[in-house]
Symmetry: C2
Subunit: 503 residues, 2 copies
């Protein structure tokens, strides 16, 4: 009696397989592939994209959806099958609007753009990248034209944070900005935190071994995960038994690489936490990039920069880097990893200034897609925003408008999800602490399973079963709200910079 | 006027892209993938296999071939377009005989079988592998049933050495065996070569750096090649700018890993040497595994174990492994890497005994596919052949019937091509030396470009434009012939073991 449902599932499983293969090629491209492979790889990716589009977006899928829906009738709307039909139909209706050749062009432009960006960043030469960005924006405008929308940016945003509008993001970001700017001004009046405890030379092998040991306590499992290096760290999964995170190491700085590993592990835990019944269905994986980022920031910042975690980590740091941190006490270490200091590079920004890096990109992207900003003027506009929000000068485009990979690969509309993730992370953390009083005390003993299990139970296991909004509200009991995040940051600044810091 | 030809080329290019992606997944599986990813990967590979089969083997391709052939008319049969139509039609007629679901089953069984083999080999437990081999043989018999052939093994062999028959291989192998057995008996009467010069502890990083330096002189190019480690070394290419070789390192033995790298570089040079115009056509890459192996053995043995190459390498070995080879003179080194000693593991066998490892597998495979040998009896039959041909006892299945990956992944009929490759390598070497007198003298100065360029000109650039037979005859001026190889081995034994060894 479930013949039509099974036929639909088989069809969707093949599409899911193609998506997984494209994920694998993306990982390979960024971690493994020799540069001269790029042109051939772009063709291969475009072919897969075309085939996946044909298989999924065609009339056959519509008929398979109709048949499965008829077969299910008014059976349990909470069933796995009902969720598959619901989500697949939404994806299908969206995918049909975009012609296969446009998707292939976007994939190809992204692969070639990535190579161009790598070279442009190395030379800090915006002009090497600009034509590739122009091509990408031209394709993105054609993409936007496939949808009925008053606001072009809404269409781009919807790909990463389904159902969230530019207006909604603007409101939350206005609230954030209003809270963050005074906080930054407040910090600027305090005695700066001494960064020297974290300076030194740290062997790469020791850094890698340490990162591996820590993320294994979070839930990294070597039988089903990998950790590698990439220029721009990311996490990806090919299936629930093949989760891949990346980080990058610098000998003078163990903090960036370690916290980048914690961050990507958060993404990996979310992906790996889907109910196994969702494997090879459209429901598997994270529901939105905002929720994804809420989990990477949860493990990187809310856990990783907490005082109890720091207390657990510090002896391990001393062991990993003998003699280097003997004179650093817990308080000095913890204050140093929470120091607030306006800086140039988003991925290295502290928690307080981070969201401003995002907000300025959100503003620039809207100007670019609407054609209000000439691409040759982007670096100057970028530098002006950095001056306005963070009060610092950008010395080179490599540290400015060329620092991020996103525009190169076509991920425009993606940046806002980073700050939305921050906002959601604090909402989810407050909900977890209500259910698990004192859960943070366990961090001091390296106990992370209670938090991971709570997150799996309330967020991870659902995958894409519910919308991003439903998923958040199910976990925290209310809508998107910047207040908990601003409260979390306010408390942190008070304890790190205030009189009660050593409490 | 070339509309139909272009349409055919576009269709074939997509199929080629899918094949390249499957190659990439195969590489990833053996080099990168965490073990729990295997089940999901098997599904993904089966999906790609199904899609590639549908795209290539369908009636549409037949019509596209007919239309392209009509458009070309009796235009130059030596043209690229004519070759594409000719080769694609042959591939298409062959592919149509095999149902897509059987191909998917074979791919899935190969992926799962590979995991089972890894575990079985680790435990040296044939019973863990036997049911997977049984399943594979059952599928292979169904595969054979798709063709009209008097001899089942002919069908399997044709996948690796198109147009070559079991009877032909049997004749060449009989000739080989007749030449090799007395040579081995002859060596057994000589003073054994002292292996101690090559013993020691060799750091892995130094081994890797050395291997990289040597293969770069052969033609490995870091902008378009990679070298990694794998349990069972192999070479693969995703496109002409993405060639991937693998080797494995052991601290007690630099010879195996170094010569494995030379071997895989030979494969890589052949693949990378296709005329760039063949990219994304069915003509790109090696024409048969025998010709492929002729190139890996060319660079590993004919070059790598020659006296001039040894003279160039030895100072570099001394530098890579300080203090370890100071007392080893050229003669001792060169004799040690050419020592003949019957042994258990095919991939570590010397040049004289190697082909006997292959011949016994060729015999066992015929017995298995014909059902003359129960699978539970394979280890015993294996051990009996090793006793008969090599005069040694097999202490465990890990060093016996479980040593090779081939049966696990379904590569049955593949082994003979190794010995055919040996035979062809000597034929091609004699032809190259006729055109380039004294070419081996350059090896002493690290000059390998003249040989590589001759091989590119006479073999590599054609890819699959001609049949294996035509390709060999074009390069050497005559048919398959074991005499040059036996002559080469006879000369080597005489010089290594004879009075004139130090000449």
């Amino acid at each position: 009696v479930t013949q039509a449902v099974e036929a639909l599932r088989q069809r969707l499983a093949q599409v899911q397989d193609l998506n997984a293969v494209m994920m694998g090629l993306e990982w390979d491209h960024q971690v493994i592939m020799p540069p001269r492979g790029a042109a051939g790889r772009a063709e291969a990716l475009a072919t897969l994209q075309t085939i996946a589009h044909e298989r999924f977006a065609g009339d056959d899928t519509g008929r398979a959806l109709d048949a499965a829906a008829a077969e299910l009738g008014d059976a349990d709307p909470e069933s796995l099958e009902a969720a598959i039909v619901r989500v697949a139909r939404r994806d299908w209706e969206k995918a049909r609007r975009v012609p296969g050749d446009l998707k292939a062009d976007l994939a190809r432009a992204g692969t070639i753009g990535y190579e161009a960006w790598t070279l442009a960043r190395a030379d800090s030469d915006w002009s090497l990248f600009e034509p590739h960005l122009a091509r990408m924006l031209e394709l993105k405008r054609r993409y936007v034209g496939c949808f009925e929308a008053d606001c072009a940016y809404d269409v781009l945003l919807d790909d990463y944070e389904e159902g969230t509008t530019t207006a909604e993001v603007s409101r939350v970001f206005a609230e954030l900005k209003a809270g963050l700017l005074p906080l930054i001004r407040d910090v600027a009046t305090r005695e700066p935190i001494d960064p020297s405890p974290l300076r030194g030379e740290f062997g790469l092998a020791a850094q890698e071994a340490l990162a591996r040991r820590v993320v294994e306590r979070f839930g990294f499992d070597a039988t089903g995960w990998r950790m590698d290096t990439a220029v721009h760290p990311f996490a990806i999964n090919l299936n629930l038994g093949d989760v891949r995170i990346t980080t990058r190491y610098e000998t003078t700085d163990f903090v960036t690489s370690l916290f980048s590993a914690l961050h990507e592990t958060g993404h990996g835990l979310y992906e790996a936490g889907s109910d196994p019944r969702l494997e090879r269905t459209p429901l598997v994986g994270g529901v939105s990039l905002g929720l994804h980022e809420s989990q990477s920031r949860m493990w990187e910042n809310i856990v990783g920069r907490s005082r109890p975690f720091s207390a657990w980590l510090l002896p391990q740091l001393r062991e990993a880097f003998p003699g280097q941190l003997d004179d650093v006490d817990l308080d000095a270490y913890w204050r140093a990893v929470n120091a607030v200091q306006p800086s140039l590079i988003r991925v290295e920004a502290d928690e307080i200034t981070y969201s401003l890096h995002v907000i300025m990109r959100f503003e620039l992207e809207q100007d670019m897609i609407e054609g209000r900003l000439a691409l040759s003027d982007v670096p100057e506009a970028w530098n002006a925003k950095v001056r306005e929000y963070l009060g610092i000068e950008v010395p080179s485009d490599a540290e400015g408008a060329l620092q991020d990979v996103h525009w190169a690969t076509g991920a425009i509309g993606y940046f806002p999800t980073y700050a939305l993730g921050n906002v959601m992370s604090a909402q989810i953390w407050e909900a977890a602490r209500r259910d698990l009083p004192g859960v943070e005390d366990g961090f001091e003993r390296g106990e992370f399973a209670p938090l991971r299990e709570w997150l799996t139970e309330h967020v991870y296991r659902f995958g894409r079963t519910y919308t991003p909004r439903e998923t958040l509200e199910g976990a925290v009991g209310g809508p998107l709200d910047a207040t908990p995040y601003l409260r979390y940051l306010g408390d942190k600044v008070a304890s790190v910079y205030g009189a009660g810091q050593a409490a």
